[in-house]
Symmetry: C2
């Protein structure tokens, strides 16, 4: 018979226990920091009505990049490409019952239909943390602080990464003041977004094509902004004032930030400050993740205005970062102890001993199979189970067991209560 | 502008924080008990090649019941309807590297395209726990024991549920001895599976239609089995011997089991003992979940024989059980403390205090907004945050804070270290 392939579907990952351990570590750090800021966990299905990702929500996703199919009831269904529309839907759906501001986090998997490449799989998991119902800059500062604390909680040093900051309001004011058409503004934003991927000449050529006789004005203002000076056109504008406040608050909190007027972040729904965490590694400088304010997205679902700010942080990128910076945790087994079977009496009694140890909180695997004792111990070792107890007629009769640590060879002779006490204090 | 619906896609659930708390409780109990048995966690994508669910694997899923679609690369993709084929694929894929027997668990979401009804949504989560590489009855006993321990860990009393047991080997031997054709055997199994849903008359009529002149023999044997006696045809058969051993071992371990010769369990891949956990509630007696041995499924992927036994346990059914039996945990906040803002000084200093408290392990939300103090406290209360500290000029100057428990009104005056110490020992 022809065998089926053991490969997963293209562009997605299998998580064998050693990969799962890393994944769980990442999720645990996310959860811990998010909860330390008072964020509550929520979740939802990966299936969403396709209309949620239509052009008016987000042109990036409305295109070829989503998994969308027609269900048997002729409904268009999408595997969510991101969590923000879902959380916006949920918040809008219970706005009458929620005590605003609401702080929520989730760790959803999201899907993109694209060619698999490093760090951009078709499915990845993503921390999403958002605060709803506050227009104040303190909310922006809070989510950026949380992003910073997460990096630190993973073990990253302050020099390993920086926070880059910009504001869509500054951008909007600038392009309005220059009287750019919506098409010009849009084309320009896209051009800036891809700046790193094209040559300087290609960039300036296209800039001129878009802007025509406004090229010079635009360039002058952007150059000033890049030097952290405020062009006349923008003095006293909301965006500039807001960003100055945010920078002051972050600096006070000991969080280094860099203003970058070319920072765009893909999503069209951003309305105010946007930020990204940027890996400063000279060998691979790049954006790790980011977020921003999206005060109007909830209007898709609700006639009430519900301002919002938050960020998303992907598991693939962060895992890559942790590997590069040697910050992955050591692999440890989630099993404390294996019971190895010396003889038939040991085999008969092991499940009972295991039951008692489990009741005492010890995580116990009983050797299962017919191998000789030495080979049983090899199995424990190969599974990285740190301790073994060999159980046979003698141990059963005496109620006394030799607890052996495989890494060191250290042995302790203990009764059952002694074993549970040992693992409880460990 | 027309607003988008805030309803989730039909047949799936949103998990608002209060639902998520219950979900997390269920997952934590699953993880804890599975790890107490030495099972390692794995995971995989929900996307699988559709061919994995073709008729030869499982006729239940090959039909109308899966979400299957064609991707943009013309590949047929299925949202996994169950985890067992996936784990079989993964085990087969790394069989050379794994130290058998392998004990694995996962908590995947799985999808079925069916009419939504109580306890049968289109998406649910499911604990899957399996042991690979052992043909011994001790492996069957282990997974049944784990299923039993999970029910107990949820707080179910021994009388609340029973373990029902049967063996596909007994069934196979019986139908072979009666020289039933594959079609007859199959039709009969399906008939027995739906026995509870049809009238006794419908049942006997269809039984006769299928069996013809063998009806009497079959009925006599099934009646003997129902009385826990062994029909002559089956004396000394493997299935009977094996099941007697399993029953003896479970009884020794204090786990009550009932033999039920009509227990089938849906999946066609089962090859040996099958079991289910049955809710004995007289108002709603029903199977909660189950599992069994499937020694041949891995042959789909591998020419090596890799025997396997395990079970799956769904979140919807168990949540329903916990609700019915009043076993849901009390809702508690994952936030320890809210800082309420008395004045501008308090507003300025709260983030700094929060930062220090978080570093000490306290989960702190800072009030965000412009409400008056009394309304800030109502927000904390509405979010079930158990403690508050009101911070203003006085508190900042003195470095002394009043920690108030909202439920009791109790107050303690503490410095920052005192607050962290309080929550550390709590």
């Amino acid at each position: 018979m022809t065998k089926l392939s053991t490969e997963p579907y293209k562009g997605v990952r299998d998580f064998y226990p050693e990969d799962m351990a890393i994944q769980k570590h990442i999720f645990e750090v996310w959860q811990k920091v998010a909860e330390s800021y008072g964020y509550e966990e929520y979740s939802a299905s990966i299936l969403e009505p396709a209309e949620m990702y239509s052009a008016k929500t987000n042109e990036e996703h409305a295109s070829e990049q989503t998994y969308t199919f027609t269900d048997r009831g002729e409904r268009q269904v999408t595997l969510r490409p991101e969590m923000t529309p879902t959380v916006a839907r949920m918040i809008a759906g219970k706005k009458r019952d929620l005590a605003f501001p609401v702080r929520w986090y989730s760790i959803p998997n999201v899907f993109r239909y694209e060619r698999p490449q490093r760090g951009r799989l078709r499915e990845h998991w993503q921390l999403n943390a958002d605060i709803f119902g506050s227009e104040a800059v303190t909310a922006d500062v809070e989510v950026i602080s949380m992003a910073y604390d997460i990096m630190r909680a993973f073990g990253a040093q302050p020099g390993d990464f920086i926070v880059r900051l910009n504001s869509r309001k500054i951008w909007n004011t600038l392009t309005e003041q220059l009287a750019l058409s919506a098409e010009q503004e849009h084309a320009l934003a896209r051009l800036i977004d891809k700046k790193a991927k094209i040559t300087a000449l290609e960039y300036t050529d296209e800039e001129e094509t878009i802007l025509g006789d406004k090229t010079k004005l635009f360039r002058a203002d952007m150059e000033m902004l890049a030097k952290d000076a405020v062009p006349e056109r923008l003095i006293g504008s909301d965006g500039v004032k807001e960003l100055a406040q945010i920078r002051a608050l972050l600096t006070n909190a000991g969080i280094p930030v860099v203003y970058d007027p070319t920072l765009m972040r893909g999503f069209t729904y951003y309305t105010g400050p946007v930020f990204e965490i940027f890996d400063t590694d000279p060998k691979n400088p790049r954006a790790l993740f980011g977020g921003g304010r999206y005060d109007r997205l909830l209007e898709l679902f609700s006639s009430d205005k519900i301002p919002a700010v938050g960020f998303g942080m992907g598991d693939v990128t962060i895992r890559d970062f942790l590997e590069t910076h040697n910050l992955l945790p050591e692999q440890t087994s989630t099993t404390d102890l294996m019971l190895c079977l010396v003889d038939e009496k040991g085999r008969d009694e092991a499940p009972e001993l295991a039951r008692h140890l489990r009741a005492g909180g010890v995580r116990v695997a009983v050797y299962e199979g017919t191998k000789k004792l030495g080979d049983q111990i090899s199995v424990a070792s190969k599974k990285s189970i740190p301790f073994i107890v060999c159980i046979g007629e003698k141990e059963v009769a005496e109620g006394s067991y030799v607890l052996k640590e495989l890494a060191t060879g250290n042995e302790m002779t203990l009764d059952m209560a002694g074993i549970t006490a040992f693992f409880r204090t460990r």
